[in-house]
């Protein structure tokens, strides 16, 4: 089972490298096997084109390396916090995709301005607060994960209905049931951010999509009455 988990993570990291979302090594994908309690993740600082099944690192939820000769992504503790707190999450993706990162840098949530957004995210994508100096010094990546969980709790958001977040001054994380779905959410998030920037150029006070259209599109693709796709 662990080999298929590593293969899923390898494939998604290679796909991330080819997606146009990342420059250099600015992004990583992980996935969890809930039965084994193990997470496979990209090694830190390795080019996507040079990844192999052997270079994927396996850690447990206490951040101990279980398998692999490489160091895991420096963002591993953020991923682990998401798996511990969001029980339905099967995979996590971190990128610095430019338009979504611009919203993070501006400290602005990405508003739901149209059906493209509503097809993937049931409402605005929120911004988690900046970390304090103490948090940064003591456990930067762990505290990053905690700030995301706090943000969703405070806003009463279901992480599976809004599978993305922006970290203030930093960049986005997305997630999903599988690595493929989590990566699709990163692609959708970047495109929605790009469209929102252009929409705001045309109309700085553009209205959000009406709630009944948002719900129609979201539930066309998600939940028991979804009718999009072949599922």
């Amino acid at each position: 089972m662990i080999e298929s988990l590593k293969k899923e993570v390898l494939d998604a990291n290679v796909a991330l490298g080819e997606s146009g979302l990342v420059s250099l090594t600015w992004g990583n994908v992980s996935a969890i096997d809930r039965d084994l309690g193990l997470v496979a993740i990209k090694p830190s600082g390795v080019d996507y084109a040079e990844l192999s099944i052997e270079s994927i690192v396996v850690v447990n939820l206490q951040n101990e390396v279980v398998e692999g000769a490489f160091k895991p992504s420096s963002d591993t503790k953020t991923h682990l916090q998401l798996y511990r707190s969001f029980s339905e999450v099967g995979a996590v993706v971190h990128t610095h995709s430019p338009a979504a990162t611009a919203f993070a840098q501006a400290g602005c949530s990405i508003p739901c301005l149209g059906t493209t957004h509503a097809d993937h995210f049931n409402g605005d994508v929120p911004v988690a607060r900046a970390l304090s100096s103490d948090e940064v010094v003591s456990d930067y990546e762990g505290a990053t994960g905690i700030s995301i969980v706090e943000c969703f709790n405070e806003l009463g958001l279901d992480p599976m209905a809004v599978p993305a977040v922006l970290l203030k001054h930093h960049a986005p994380f997305t997630w999903g049931e599988t690595a493929e779905k989590a990566l699709e959410n990163s692609i959708a998030l970047e495109m929605c951010a790009k469209m929102a920037l252009m929409t705001y150029q045309l109309r700085p006070n553009a209205a959000a999509i009406p709630q009944h259209i948002l719900q129609q599109h979201y539930f066309r693709k998600h939940g028991e009455e979804a009718y999009y796709g072949q599922g």
Copy 2:
């Protein structure tokens, strides 16, 4: 005949996937055989790279599947309404191309600011109104098609002279005599939207192209006195 229709639709959907206009599976192409009264369309949620002639779905104008093992695009009823109301339309394309979608999200028609636009669309590309809650609940995709037809009727527009529309809060549809022409209109629409955004950045109140230049360019390419191309 139905095989050549399916082939035309397959080729245009593959070309759409390679066009740069769509991310993920955010777009679909259909075409109609008017003699048979049958429409071939992309299957719902299938990647462009995985399409084959067998996966193309054939429906009649009452939205009954006539051939194919897959579910048709979730937007099929919108396509069918356009075929029923616009008798010269031979093919329909739906995308979420980013610049055109930004105009749709802003609720702004795409103005005819230059000859690039005039070469393809004889005037502004309009925005169809948002649907009511009742319309969304009872028949979302059918009501979407009706709102497009209403928009063209109210504005007195010839759908073959302005072969594109924006749906408020949603995205564009284009059409044409053939799937290839309908796709060309999607490509032209996105580029005109992109150019209009940059023009507005330079000059927020940029004037429309003078009517005599618009007509010259439109009729250079369309109608009996066209002299562009080898036709």
Copy 3:
């Protein structure tokens, strides 16, 4: 000789198609053999990928087809006017490249804001006036060429020092000694327009480059004391 002229024009049109400057068939390249008084040009409306040496059309300066089974570009008369009026021009390129076209649609010249521009154009790239209704009706493409020549005469510009123009409500033309150089000028023009748009976003009243830096860069690459390149 005419075969090598046709080959130069074929290669430059193929390169234009691969340059990212044009969508669909929105651009064309021609070149002149001054000794023969003949111009080779792209056929109208043919895809760049389908061009062959046989499809290139040869016309004389009176716009009579001398060789080739295809119709020449619908913009041929504009090209010919430039060859007749600007005696040092060896090739002409027309595109609808998006950022330069946005300046044309806004009716704004492209200012010389930096050395990228100064390396290719010795000053601002001007906008030729819109044509009147009479001009459009009687000889649209010929009058377009005349408006460019008038623009350069009125501004006292040397067409070899500023080898580009914007047509109001339309798009750019560039030129050069060879088809390769004329195409390089189209690529440079689009990039300078794109950079100018971003510069204006940062600083709406950005100052032009000081004249002594402009001249240094222009003459580093052009004229008798040029020291850029291997020539």
Copy 4:
């Protein structure tokens, strides 16, 4: 040793040509062998795709060609000044990448708005002043290098902590310990400039990243306590 230096410079120039940062021949990479006191650099005006090991030029720090049949980059004296003044620099890259060039043209430093920037540059990327007419006439490229060194001295910046500069009205230079690292800094700089432009569109007065987050990210990747990557 000189062959491996030339190979490093060849590979980095080819990678620059494929990076998407440069159009035409608008950029060059050099690297130094400090023991030999020799610098290998791109030949002037040669296409990246046509470069070979033989075409790379070797000069000494007095700008005398030591090896190679081609003329070195016209920017060679700027590179040499950086090697003479910044003793830890092993390689220099010059580009006209569009977003960074827009900041240079606007005369605006690139602010550190997020962790993407902080991962590569320990603070804002400054703008060196425009050159005077005398400087331009007497030794343009040499004076350009001197203006960069002055800028870093005046601001008290460590060139290895902020390995990039913008030249007013011109474009960026970056550097690093190796040609690969210097090129990575050019890629990071362009992406940070692009993100900053989008951030400013959303929030014209966007705040800089708090200093404690900046330092955390910078020292995660740099210095003795770095824990990013496999090093």
